[in-house]
């Protein structure tokens, strides 16, 4: 089964994200900061990571730089999901190896779109209207 690690220091955001991504067919794991997330990844790499930027202990940017250096750490698709919506942050994230970038606030359609964009879920038949 496809797995998704949801990394966000807000329990509310994790809960919303979990509900959306479960519906897309993923088994969900949660972490409250980058450090917890990295521990989980050292154990077993997820298929996808939904990643907040600003978190205590270790932020999302630091996490992805560590993740990408792990053996096989280039495999997981990493989608940032953050209130940092400036072009500079987006460019930094992409340079660090992020696959997609969601600017909060987000909804189900945006998450599904972005997951489709990076091939995590198959394209559904086009909507009619």
């Amino acid at each position: 089964m496809k797995t998704c690690l949801v990394v966000d220091d807000s329990g509310v955001v994790r809960k919303i994200a979990r509900r959306i991504i479960e519906e897309l067919g993923f088994f969900i794991m949660e972490a409250e900061d980058g450090d917890q997330a990295l521990e989980i990844c050292k154990h077993a790499l997820p298929t996808a990571v939904l990643l907040d930027w600003n978190m205590p202990v270790m932020d999302g940017y630091e996490f992805i730089t560590h993740l990408r250096r792990l053996p096989g750490g280039d495999k997981p698709k990493v989608v940032f999901c953050t209130t940092e919506n400036g072009m500079d942050h987006i460019a930094r994230a992409l340079a660090a190896g992020a696959d997609e970038y969601i600017m909060k606030p987000f909804d189900k359609d945006i998450v599904a779109d972005k997951f489709r964009e990076v091939g995590l879920v198959e394209a559904t038949s086009p909507q009619i209207a």
Binding site: I90, E100, M103, F106, I110, E117, P126, Q127
Partner: protein
Amino acid sequence: MTPPDYEYLRKLLKDHSGLDLSADKQYLIESRLLPLARKAGLAGLPELVQKMKGGSAAFIAQVVEAMTTNETFFFRDKIPFEHFRDTIMPELLQARAGRKSLRIWCAAGSTGQEPYSLAMCLKEMSAALTGWRVEILATDLSQEVLEKSRAGIYSQFEVQRGLPIQLLVKYFRQIGELWQINADLRAMVQHRQLNLLHDFSQLGSFDVIFCRNVMIYFDQDTKTNIFGRLARTIEPDGFLVLGAAETVVGLTEQFKPIGDRRGLYRPGDSRVPVAKPAPARMAAPKLTAMAAGA
């Protein structure tokens, strides 16, 4: 929704906008009008119809607007843009190699996502287009919608639907909470107000026509009429792209679907074969042998 309510809405929409709802468009009504009903503090569609019958012209106008305004995303439905990149452009690059110019028409350009998606596709293949003149004309019924398209300014929500983040970074600039498509892409798109029900022969002829998700609003005769006039404005070896829910079948002999390329059509009298291997310089060409016409 009861059949009489449906019939009432159908007739009202037809009278007000030419929008022709067939009997199977219940989902369309629900998806468009339930949010409007909720916003007006109504319990559901029966109450909405009741309120319309009460005769509020302003409310009826809102209903018509909600039913006829088309939601649009960047690279909406993806496949048409893959066809554009992998089938249409490789072939036209060969066919027009002599005159090095192309004309593309977005016949329901709406708020600009479609013409600008095409502009981005062209930018991505700019190496193959050195020295070419490519014109994109976006037309729409609504002046207001065209204004938005001209400005090329989109909300954070809009740029997150269908647009890969790499393309946002590459082709947009940030203005506060909004995003504007870059000036060089805006310069690639011309805008013009146009009602498809009226004569459009003055636009000249086109190599590619995107006419998506607008035919669904017209009745059979109107569709046939528009297809006939599109056929006269498209080059004999040009391409017509329709929306996912649209077809020419049973409406016109002037366009034929292209084998396995869903939504892609050519003028019916065209004897030009479709597939030739793309030149190696094209990005990700995935052409395989396929039948010309069908």
